[in-house]
């Protein structure tokens, strides 16, 4: 039951979903960046784990819009937070989010990501991709939500098997805050504790 408009859009965009040559298009951007990130996470036993982590963090910082993600994830509490709380939150959030994405993506380390169709809506591009598992397990679908930033693109969300990382974290944080008297400080303290793990 694809609507006519969506179908036309899909047909139009299917043509640019071909093999990527440069990161000038959304599909190429995702393909390059994701395969680099997944490659870094590849478990080379004997390799330097610290160095790998730093490398992943670098890729993540360059290609993900962390403040935008952090703002969305804090949801309704962002508006009520003071300037100091916001900057402190974003600082802790960065460490937190790098780690959660790294752990989630490391499940697919060493596997190749195939980029499929691209959909565009306003400023946003949704890049469909698939990771095929060697074990014969069902392939994993990942949709990358990316926005134009400067000369290139930045990732703002990942939907893994249709579960949005940002949306899930937002519900998680919101629930944690309301369980703790509706205070943002409680969340920041918890993130600190989490990050020092």
């Amino acid at each position: 039951m694809i609507s006519r408009r969506a179908f036309v859009l899909f047909a139009a965009l299917a043509t640019i979903g071909g093999p990527a040559v440069a990161s000038a298009d959304p599909a190429g951007f995702v393909k390059d960046m994701a395969n680099r990130a997944i490659g870094v996470l590849k478990d080379t036993s004997g390799g330097d784990a610290k160095k790998r982590e730093a490398e992943f963090r670098g890729i993540f910082r360059d290609n993900f819009d962390i403040p935008e993600i952090g703002k969305f994830v804090l949801g309704i509490h962002w508006r009520n937070a003071s300037a100091e709380q916001r900057s402190e939150y974003l600082k802790e959030f960065e460490t937190y989010v790098v780690r959660t994405y790294a752990e989630r993506l490391s499940e697919y380390s060493g596997e190749q990501l195939e980029v499929g169709r691209v959909q565009t809506q306003g400023e946003k591009n949704y890049v469909d991709s698939v990771i095929r598992r060697p074990s014969g397990a069902p392939p994993i679908r990942i949709v990358w939500e990316i926005e134009k930033a400067g000369g290139g693109y930045k990732v703002v969300d990942l939907k893994i098997e249709n579960v949005s990382m940002s949306q899930t974290q937002r519900s998680d944080f919101s629930s944690y805050i309301s369980q703790n008297g509706g205070k943002v400080e409680a969340l920041i303290a918890r993130l600190k504790q989490f990050n020092s793990r």
């Binding site: 809506q121 014969g136 949709v143 899930t168 944080f173 919101s174 629930s175």
Partner: protein
């Protein structure tokens, strides 16, 4: 106690528990109310209690069994088991595809069932997929979702042993149980134990495929209960729109009005 009475009992219990304890929004602001409606979990207290119970059962029984199965069962055995379980599910999928207004898809699913049950030797081998007839899965919760557009399923319910749900999907579970020809046959022929074996294998097989994902979600969430609740809603919404899997439909860009689970797109 049969599986049937267990399922019906769980659903009845939950509906009763659900009516007895209600949560309220954090404060009176419009934003807090919107957030509260979006969460749509008025029975959070009993739900969390049942979630704790389910996790205890999972830690003590299901997860260890699933880990053992993942690590020790030979790959062909796992593949064959999954194929047989999927095959037993095809008639229910076909009914639901028919009632979702897609008789062609229902026919294809029935063709898969016939091919795999015969050439595929009782469903052990998924010959149909190799012939290019792809596997689909639809349940009655999804059928209700297709017809009740804009209805996102109702308040969140955590069912004992069966996990995350809502009234729509709980009703779906009951309907799918009753019109499943294998359940009918097992009950008629007094071989109910086959139903238990099937349920047990389904649980272990299904759990063996979510070990890494759920471990990861638990480790990296501050409130695991809330993370599961959100993930469940998002997944079900996508399954109803048939966007669930690789090669599925493109994701919807415009949130349907009133679909709380799609607010992610609004910002």
């Amino acid at each position: 106690m049969s599986i049937k009475s267990l399922i019906v009992g769980c659903v009845a219990l939950l509906m009763a528990a659900a009516l007895s304890a209600c949560a309220t929004p954090a404060d009176d602001s419009a934003e807090a109310k919107a957030e509260f409606e979006r969460t749509n979990d008025p029975f959070e207290l009993p739900n969390r209690f049942i979630f704790a119970f389910n996790r205890a059962v999972d830690m003590a029984v299901l997860r260890p069994a699933a880990v053992f199965y993942r690590d020790w069962a030979p790959a062909p055995v796992k593949r064959g088991t999954r194929n047989v379980l999927d095959n037993l599910n095809e008639p229910v999928t076909a009914f639901n595809e028919f009632f979702q207004g897609d008789p062609v898809r229902a026919g294809t699913t029935l063709a898969r069932f016939v091919i795999n049950s015969t050439v595929g030797i009782l469903g052990i081998f998924d010959v149909a997929t190799e012939l290019g007839i792809e596997h689909t899965k639809e349940d009655f919760g999804q059928t209700l979702g297709v017809w009740g557009k804009g209805y996102e399923g109702g308040p969140y319910l955590m069912l004992p042993l069966l996990g995350p749900s809502n009234p729509r999907d709980a009703i779906g579970l009951v309907v799918d149980y009753f019109w499943d020809p294998f359940n009918i046959a097992f009950n008629k022929l007094d071989v109910e134990y086959l139903g238990y074996i099937r349920a047990g294998l389904s649980a272990v097989d299904g759990r063996s495929r979510t070990i890494e994902v759920l471990d990861d979600l638990e480790r990296n969430s501050l409130d695991y209960y809330a993370a599961i609740r959100s993930a469940y809603r998002q997944r079900r919404a996508a399954e109803i729109r048939n966007e669930g899997t690789a090669g599925g439909k493109p994701i919807s860009l415009q949130p349907a009005p009133g679909r709380a689970d799609e607010l992610a797109f609004i910002r």
